[in-house]
């Protein structure tokens, strides 16, 4: 083999190694960022569900339940009724209107508002939210205690 051919072969081997290293590094970084993006999508979905739960407590303390429903209905599949299939927390829709449902489930006891069961069955309000193939629920289920002095914390 003449010297020039040997040098070219060596060069191509070196260049292919460098290019492969670059490609591997690029793939690792790209997949890591994609994985982190997926995690964040899921976390934001969880916080969306939690925002729904917080806003219900505030709506009750302000007596503004119509705005609550108007705000959240376009954000996901909202339902209120009987809680079944725990821990999936699936709400089975009742035939009541939302205000009728609240008049049945919200009771005041010693200046504390309680979200109570309907008869012997647990009641619930849920919002099903989904994004990018993931799904979760924001759920308010009886026996939730809503303190009238604070819109944020259960008592």
């Amino acid at each position: 083999m003449s010297r020039g051919v040997f040098a070219l072969t060596w060069f191509f081997l070196l260049s292919m190694t460098l290019i492969d290293l670059y490609a591997i590094h690029n793939t690792l970084v790209f997949s890591e960022i994609t994985n982190q993006g997926t995690l964040m999508t899921v976390e934001e979905l969880f916080y969306l569900g939690r925002n729904f739960e917080y806003s219900f407590k505030e709506a009750i303390s302000l007596g503004d339940t119509d705005s609550f429903l108007d705000y959240w209905a376009p954000r996901g599949n909202i339902s209120f009724g009987i809680l079944v299939e725990f821990p999936k927390k699936h709400c089975v829709q009742t035939n009541f209107t939302f205000s009728e449902f609240l008049s049945l489930t919200l009771i005041e006891h010693e200046n504390i508002i309680l979200f109570s069961p309907i008869g012997v069955q647990q009641s619930c309000i849920s919002l099903e939210v989904s994004n990018d193939g993931f799904k979760t629920y924001g759920v308010i289920s009886s026996l939730t205690c809503i303190n009238t002095s604070s819109s944020w914390f259960s008592c």
Partner: protein, 97 residues
Amino acid sequence: MRGFFSIEILLILFLLPFFTYLFESYRLPLVRETEVLTQDAAQLLMNGHSIYDFPTNNLVVWLDDVSTGTCTYQFKYCTQRYFEGGEHTICLAECLH
């Protein structure tokens, strides 16, 4: 041989960007870290803290359209929390300097 040598020199020049890539100290955007800091900041804001309670030397925090300052950053993360009568957008970025 002079022709071969010229071609090799030319090809080596093409390889230079790959060499620099191997030896440069590249700052990766700390995506996950920024996200976790944003979630912590959001929780503090929900508990009644102000955006001005956060350190301003290496962080910028936004609450809706109000920010604690400006700086150069690679990655900004935003999340939403419900407090004080509505959903608020909380964002955070780590400054590069």
